[in-house]
């Protein structure tokens, strides 16, 4: 993993080149070189000072499309269909145009990037030395996006030849497709406006799509020729730069695909050119993707610059989990607190909740979700629509910006994602005829309804169902601290059932102690043990009650780490496992392992035991290169180990989760 990542990271994307191709301009013709098959090591990155001259309008970016020339018109403006859209509740809904979507998502595909793509642009830079800086600026930003085009398994040699002709066209169309809302707030971007692009910008909103067809045949032809010429020129370069190649020790043959990938990269680069239209409000929309791949350094960099919360990334992460965010904990609180009064975009209530997430004073799926919804309700109460805006659009953007702030504090849970999706669909459904105050009132009551119906009432129903399964003489085992399970146990005790509780707990959170305290306080007879003793204690248990952060469509239970272990042991001992989960936490995603989506906690808490100086063997080792600490928060339990899911729609087998999602999600969340 490391070797393929490093080349990209060498170059810091400081320059955002706004290349726009004006057909027929002679200088561009010579300059717009389609990448020549060159390879060079990434170390040959040009000096940073060599930025493109600000007044220079002759710096086009030639963008041969990634695929057949025939298909690129259809493909490029809307690449999204070719990608599986992650069913994330936080997808930028406001950016509905195809280009908009394509911008926000490439990160999902980033891991598919290969070494070749990243090294190719370097080679290209060497090829055209004078424009290297500009090109670099573009390419670097873009590389991840390039991988999102399904060009991986393509016959690249063939494509390259065919793809050249249409390049100019593609450039134009892509640029014009840019919806006005897409911006990258990036202070470091140096925006350049080529004559042509300025014009386009002005009228972009009106004519987004039709323009792309307007490129005349003659224009296309001109482009084509320009490229051929450039190519002929470029092909000479490799000979000279061949020496540099040594660093990578790459056969020339392998470079063919580069140019192709590089080209597609540049296409995407021009998409990002939208960054020249930044404003405060657009920034809000431009939140990090909720499931951003954190091993993608470039995106992380970008997200960081945008971020309100300055989290420091932990350096030494476990290889398999690099795509997940992991931060040094405990450093950012004072910073954030001091920012409290300067940050206007974030509502104070949301800010407070975010801080609570950060400090860990609110934890647990339901508690976090309720806190978030309450904060949003506050925010809606204080909200007023700016002039010349519609409530539904602007409020959605606002909520999105809050959500991105919350994500920065702590990654969203699936239940929160569902709640946000609900809220957004409510906002979208607000009739335009309503006055602002009425709309706000209805939204607030919607939020309240959600909290009452989907969480509080649902918990009551779950308790009533689950209690019927508790018989006298039972020994119930629970793991960690689940609010639903606690309510079940207390209610069963109130009903006078005679049973015993085994609370199983684990380091580092030891949440079970809190549950234990409350249960013992109510007079239940309890046993407390750590998860190490699970196989011993399971012998005497008659039922296992577990909470869940989410239940996924294949019946997989996504829950506090350790749950899978408990469920597996229980299954092995033929003890029924009951998972108590509100239906609003169900998600249509399918997950097979706990790697691809998870959360990493503070690694320090597992390396040291507070108050036990005698066993702090790892003192001074935590920064060692050879030590990687993994503190996972969640794991997934396969549905085989789950006997029953107790939900507000009754007691169902895990195979029925998709049925409930199908039957009930539509009416509540989707329009």
């Amino acid at each position: 993993m490391e070797p393929r990542r490093s080349p990209r990271t060498v170059i810091d994307p400081k320059v955002r080149q706004v290349g726009f191709f004006a057909p027929g301009a002679p200088p561009e013709r010579s300059v717009s070189v389609p990448p020549a098959p060159i390879v060079s090591s990434s170390s040959s990155s040009p000096p940073v000072s060599d930025l493109s001259p600000s007044g220079n309008s002759l710096s086009p970016v030639m963008i041969p499309p990634p695929r057949h020339s025939s298909a690129d018109n259809a493909l490029l403006p809307s690449p999204s269909p070719s990608r599986p859209v992650p069913a994330s509740p936080l997808r930028r809904d406001s950016l509905t145009t195809a280009a908009g979507r394509s911008y926000s998502k490439p990160s999902d595909f980033f891991p598919a990037m290969s070494l070749t793509a990243s090294s190719s642009y370097a080679g290209r830079m060497v090829g055209n030395a004078e424009f290297s800086a500009d090109l670099r600026g573009n390419t670097v930003k873009v590389v991840p996006t390039a991988s999102s085009f399904p060009s991986g398994g393509f016959d690249l040699t063939a494509v390259k030849a065919s793809s050249v002709p249409a390049t100019g066209l593609t450039t134009v169309s892509v640029v014009k497709m840019m919806p006005p809302g897409i911006t990258v707030y990036d202070p470091e971007i140096i925006v350049e406006k080529v004559g042509g692009s300025v014009e386009v910008q002005n009228d972009r909103p009106e004519r987004s799509k039709p323009l792309k067809e307007k490129t005349s045949k003659a224009e296309r032809r001109a482009l084509q020729e320009a490229q051929r010429a450039a190519k002929a020129e470029g092909s000479k370069v490799p000979a000279s730069s061949g020496a540099v190649m040594g660093a990578n020790a790459k056969p020339i043959k392998a470079t063919k695909p580069h140019s192709q990938k590089n080209d597609s990269a540049t296409v995407a680069g021009s998409e990002k050119r939208g960054g020249d239209r930044l404003s405060e409000k657009d920034r809000k929309k431009d939140a990090p993707h909720p499931r951003m791949q954190y091993d993608d350094k470039i995106r992380v960099e970008k997200a960081k610059r945008r971020a309100v919360v300055k989290q420091t990334e932990a350096k030494n992460r476990v290889e398999l989990f690099r795509h997940l965010p992991q931060y040094e904990h405990g450093t950012q609180l004072p910073d954030l607190e001091s920012k409290f009064f300067q940050l206007d975009p974030v509502h104070p209530a949301v800010y407070k909740v975010g801080l609570q997430y950060l400090s860990g004073s609110i934890s647990g799926g339901n508690a976090r979700c309720i806190a978030m919804l309450e904060a949003f309700r506050e925010a809606i109460k204080d909200y007023s629509t700016p002039s010349e805006k519609t409530l539904s659009r602007d409020l959605t953007a606002k909520i999105s910006s809050y959500v991105s702030f919350l994500i920065e504090c702590r990654p969203l849970s699936i239940s929160m994602g569902n709640a946000i999706r609900f809220l957004k669909s409510c906002i979208a459904k607000v009739p335009l005829t309503l006055s602002e105050s009425e709309a706000k009132a209805s939204l607030q009551s919607d939020v309240e309804h959600f909290i009452n119906e989907k969480i509080i009432l649902a918990d009551n129903v779950i308790v009533n169902h689950a209690v019927t399964k508790i018989r006298d003489g039972d020994v119930l085992l629970t793991y960690g601290s689940s609010s639903a399970v606690e309510m079940i146990l207390l209610h069963a005790h109130e009903l006078g059932k005679q049973f015993r509780v085994v609370v199983v707990d684990s380091r580092p959170k030891l949440e079970g102690k809190l549950l234990l305290r409350r249960l013992v306080g109510k007079g239940l007879s309890c046993t407390y043990t750590n998860i190490n003793a699970i196989s011993y204690i399971m012998r005497e248990v008659t039922q296992v009650f577990l909470g869940a952060s989410s239940v996924l469509s294949n019946g997989t239970v996504y829950s506090r780490v350790g749950t899978a272990c408990v469920a597996m042991v229980a299954h092995e001992f033929r003890v029924p496992v009951l998972v108590c989960c509100e239906a609003y936490k169900f998600h249509e995603r399918v997950q097979l392992d706990s790697i691809c989506s998870n959360e990493l906690g503070d690694p320090d808490v597992i390396s040291e035991v507070p108050g036990r100086d005698d066993i702090n063997y790892l003192d001074g080792l935590t920064n060692s290169e050879n030590l990687q600490l993994l503190n996972l928060i969640y794991d997934v339990t396969p549905s085989d180990y789950v006997s029953m899911i107790v939900t507000d729609y009754g007691m169902v087998p895990p195979t029925s989760v998709p049925v409930i999602v199908r039957e009930y999600r539509r009416e509540h969340v989707w329009v």
């Binding site: 399964k469 029924p576 006997s643 009754g650 087998p653 195979t655 029925s656 049925v659």
Partner: protein, 402 residues
């Protein structure tokens, strides 16, 4: 279920040989007249189960399908302590007009129940239809409340019968869905409900035919089928297979304690199907030569597992460990919103067991009449909704009841 069903198969079939169909209209719409010998005029209140110790459901089953030995009868009667049969209510259509007050839904149900070919759920729905007929309600709401009361008393009268509970629930569900709003006046809604209830017997018969049709694809020439206990649906399946000139062999378990297997082997012998009788404990011994297991079900629960006569679970376990398919034939009105976690997680259904010799009083006897087979040991369920895998049961139930 009221909704879609695979009845098109039947309809096609009927069209195909329209001439030869002589649809047995054995289901008379009036309650059967029980023998006069039982007309002991005991007028005790019928509102509660005469003997909660013994499952009425399994007693009826034994009476219908078991080979009852005289000593068992004696024991059963001793356990019950009185004549189980009671005054049969005469034709409700006649009676309701003059003595509407004395009507009891349980009595009604009990009469219907005694008809051997009538499923328990159908009997329950017939009884509820009688409630509608007798009812003096003038609005849909009143009628609904009255029906609710009747169905609750029915359910509590025999908590062990799953198909009774399911039948009541099903009908109540239908009533609430057929609100009077759809019909202009109350009377048409009411007559519609009654009509529906009357039809239900037919539906239940049809369901059996559909299941028999659907299962034919699974019975191949030369196969050996193990059958446990007596089930009307399974008998229908095997009968159809025999009529289709399939060559197969059946192994029947004895089905202790009421020996329902003997009855089944008797019926099969009449059809010239080669039958072999096993004692219940010989299942594992003969599992080698078996190609598939066919069982009926008293109830199909939410998990997709079944509740059936005692011994089904161990047959399923043995079949599973030897990789033999276990097929369940069950009408969809046996689907119940129950979710037992293990064997003890059900209302106990007890019945007397005859061991042939007196049992010392110190010895405890397991008298449970049924067990629960978890879904992972079942291969397929043949229902009138089609051939389902166990996990689809919950899907159907959710769609029906939620």
């Amino acid at each position: 279920m009221w909704r879609r069903s695979a009845s098109f198969i039947l309809d096609q079939r009927i069209q195909h040989d329209a001439a030869s169909t002589s649809k047995p209209e054995t289901l008379s719409l009036s309650p059967p007249q029980t023998e006069a010998s039982h007309m002991a005029a005991s007028v005790e209140p019928f509102n509660q189960n005469p003997n909660p110790k013994i499952s009425a459901y399994y007693q009826t089953r034994a009476a219908h399908t078991g080979v009852v030995t005289p000593d068992w009868l004696a024991q059963a009667q001793a356990a019950v302590g009185r004549q189980t049969e009671d005054l049969p209510s005469p034709e409700p259509d006649l009676k309701e007009s003059d003595s509407g007050k004395s009507f009891s839904v349980i009595k009604e149900f009990d009469n219907w129940r005694k008809q051997p070919d009538l499923a328990e759920a159908v009997a329950a729905i017939r009884a509820l239809a009688a409630v509608i007929r007798v009812s003096e309600a003038t609005t849909m709401m009143e009628l609904e409340i009255e029906l609710k009361k009747a169905s609750d008393s029915l359910k509590s009268w025999d908590t062990t019968s799953i198909s009774l509970t399911a039948g009541c629930d099903l009908f109540m569900r239908y009533v609430t869905r057929t609100s009077a709003l759809e019909y202009e006046d109350f009377n048409s809604a009411r007559s519609r409900l009654i009509e529906r209830a009357e039809k239900f017997g037919e539906i239940s018969y049809k369901a059996r035919r559909i299941i028999a049709m659907l299962s034919q694809d699974f019975i191949f020439d030369g196969c050996t089928i193990l059958v446990h206990g007596f089930s009307r649906v399974v008998l229908e399946v095997l009968k159809t297979a025999a009529q289709n000139k399939k060559l197969f062999r059946v192994l029947c378990t004895e089905g202790r304690p009421d020996r329902t297997g003997l009855r089944l082997s008797n019926e099969l012998a009449k059809l010239d199907v080669p039958v072999k009788l096993l004692i219940d404990s010989a299942v594992a011994y003969s599992m080698d030569e078996i190609d598939m297991v066919f069982v009926g079900a008293d109830g199909v629960v939410e998990s997709g597992g079944i509740i059936n006569m005692m011994g089904t679970y161990q047959i399923a376990l043995v079949a599973h460990s030897m990789n033999k398919p276990v097929y369940v034939a069950a009408e969809s009105y046996k689907f119940a919103r129950l979710y037992p976690l293990d064997q003890k997680d059900m209302a106990p259904a007890l019945r007397p067991i005859d061991f042939g010799v007196p049992i010392p009083s110190k010895v405890e006897v397991e008298t449970s009449a049924r067990d629960y087979t978890p879904p992972q040991y079942l291969t397929l369920l043949f229902t009138d909704l089609g051939v389902l895998s166990p996990s689809v049961v919950s899907d159907e139930l959710i769609q029906l009841y939620l």
